[in-house]
Symmetry: C3
Subunit: 286 residues, 3 copies
């Protein structure tokens, strides 16, 4: 493996993406799992957006019509919510709304893998965001990407960063959307560009929902920044990672994942455009 | 518009309503959305009540039979939970239990507007509580109120307070229940009386669930105070608003909506009858 | 009634059970209610395990196959989730995974009582954990235990401790599993042994979910300690009780059940094997 060639990123542009969320207060329709739904709603409010949750097939078309974007999260999916996702996705596609897909647990069950693939095959998904295992499952299962050649490791490291980015760009081209792979190092790619983000803190993996919250926040960012989904997604990821760093720095000796969860929302709530521009650790990866 | 004529309110009576909740620990059956259900349960415990959640049609009649009151919240409604609400509502009506309706998102989708109207048409609802948009949707859709004349603004202000209260009293008379419209200024009305409540803090709109929690808490208050639903509802609203003020006053520089959510529950938990009597900002509106 | 004969317990062995959870990070499949599901997930992470939630009948067999243990909690049960529990339970039984049953509300509705009985009749349940009312309902309803003779009080006290433990041992023998009855004094029994645990704090009853969290944590403990389910369950209960004591000791004047909930997760997160060995208040009861 060769080391990745990296170049500096335009951090002020990330701050502008964040500012646009607070300025426009995007209304985001979420069909999401019941484990972390409260955190997703509060994270959307904290970053400057506004959440609406609805998963009933008879309800979702009306709800998505009054929103600006749609987030589909397949954790705790069921037959009824999958039908709701299908109806909402069709309506959002008609209206040209951005759609964020979080393929929670793709690869862990056949139903989840197929659900993610089906969403990608039938809707105009704007961003797919998951961990490497989920994204690999998506890459292998979506009919548009079956037989994908790249076989990246499950964890993105400095050693495999170049090949992980190439995998992400390749998948982004085939799916026609932005691909975000989050982990210790996060990777964001479209067909022509890829970036690595090094914000975050290990304790984020010790609370449930940091990934789901990021997908919800991504929904607000891409809805508020329709001119550049790639940069919006990088800003969302760097912003939550930076908020995680701030939250971790507040922790005292007796604090654990309970307090961290509270502090993470607090830090998202207080995250300013200047703070993001100054604290984002992002680099282009060729 | 003419300014509203206001007169002072009997604050100690509000404290007595709160005290009766803690003295009687009313058991409240909630069929509520999965976004804020945990906050609703903890808010019920914090104010002195006890929660039971159940939405399965085969389960709800038994559950509601052992409770003292019922709260129906139509956020994230689905066909099964709507059927559960119907069964529970019939049983609660038979038993003479108070029923609180929170028409979350009425006006935002046809299913929600119709669900709220159907509940009002088929059950003996005791209190309907929502924001002005939701209450206007309810007023327009319920068969008993179709063609209501008043067209108040969506936000209650000092300028439209008199007409907003007239609208609420009129709707209360037509529905045969207490109407609570919450916002920067809250309005509570029955057919013959109306009051305005000025407690609360703007950050309550930046966390998800402050409205749902208020409906749950209202369920405890009206169950514990069957002799005067109007005063019980005023006490519930003033109490949560006051708790919001206490919670906001605890916030430090790094705190956001995560900490506020925790502080709000804490303040509800510690709210005493004396504190409510001293801190409620309520006035009669003619 | 005669006072129970008690003897000292091997506290260091409890610390070893806790340490094994952190060393092995057991993956636990939970089918649980939507009220406290987020707390269950964070409690599992806090104690050293890892949660997966899935209740869709088409999804659960795959999910449970990649896990090490299964927790079934019948709060907010519905026909679909009951079917999911049945499918997951069959698969977990085939795989030899431990199954923890939390019969939330058994006795409060016919559906819940029958659901708990049906699970006990059709699956190889490893631990059933509930309060005395729930366990009594289970004892009366399960076909294997119908007609059980013991009629213990609903609250375990020093006065009825011996008879409560005899009831628990008797039920454990009939069900072929460990029985855990939690309250002010907790009782754990298998067919041949019983112990009483005196950790905990009254405020645990003023937040929703402390029981559900304990069942989830129990899932991690019994999965990580397949050689001695009894000791694992005692360790789980003493550990959460001790965490509750630590959490209560952190509370300031303005704190209530909101902060307590956060502190409880924090204390579970920081609970060490040494702390458990030193702080557990457990005794054998003959």
């Amino acid at each position: 493996m060769t080391m990745a060639e990296t170049t500096n990123f335009d951090a002020p542009a990330l701050g502008e993406r964040a500012a646009r969320v607070r300025a426009t207060v995007p209304l985001v329709h979420c069909i999401t799992n019941y484990v972390t739904v409260n955190d997703c709603a509060n994270a959307l409010l904290a970053c400057g957006g506004s959440p609406i949750m609805s998963d009933e097939p008879e309800d979702v078309a009306d709800i998505t019509s009054i929103c600006g974007g749609l987030v589909l999260n397949i954790g705790t999916l069921n037959r009824r919510s999958l039908e709701g996702m299908a109806v909402a996705g069709v309506r959002a596609t008609e209206l040209g709304h951005p759609i964020v897909l979080d393929p929670v647990g793709a690869g862990a069950s056949r139903l989840r893998t197929e659900a993610a693939a089906n969403i990608l095959d039938t809707m105009a998904v704007t961003v797919v965001r998951g961990n490497m295992s989920e994204i690999k499952a998506v890459a292998g299962a979506a009919s548009s990407t079956r037989g994908v050649d790249v076989d990246p490791a499950d964890v993105v490291t400095d050693e495999n960063l170049a090949s992980s980015c190439a995998f992400a760009r390749n998948l982004a081209e085939k799916l026609g959307c932005v691909v975000a792979i989050t982990g210790v190092i996060d990777v964001v790619a479209d067909a022509g560009r890829s970036a690595a983000i090094r914000n975050g803190h290990p304790i984020m993996g010790k609370m449930t929902g940091s990934g789901c919250m990021l997908s919800a926040v991504s929904g607000a960012y891409v809805t508020a920044n329709p001119d550049d989904t790639f940069m919006a997604e990088v800003a969302a990821i760097a912003g939550e990672g930076l908020a995680g760093e701030v939250a971790a720095s507040r922790m005292g000796e007796l604090d654990g994942n309970g307090s961290f969860r509270t502090y993470l929302l607090d830090a998202l709530y207080n995250l300013s455009a200047e703070q993001l521009a100054g604290g984002a650790r992002v680099e282009w990866v060729a």
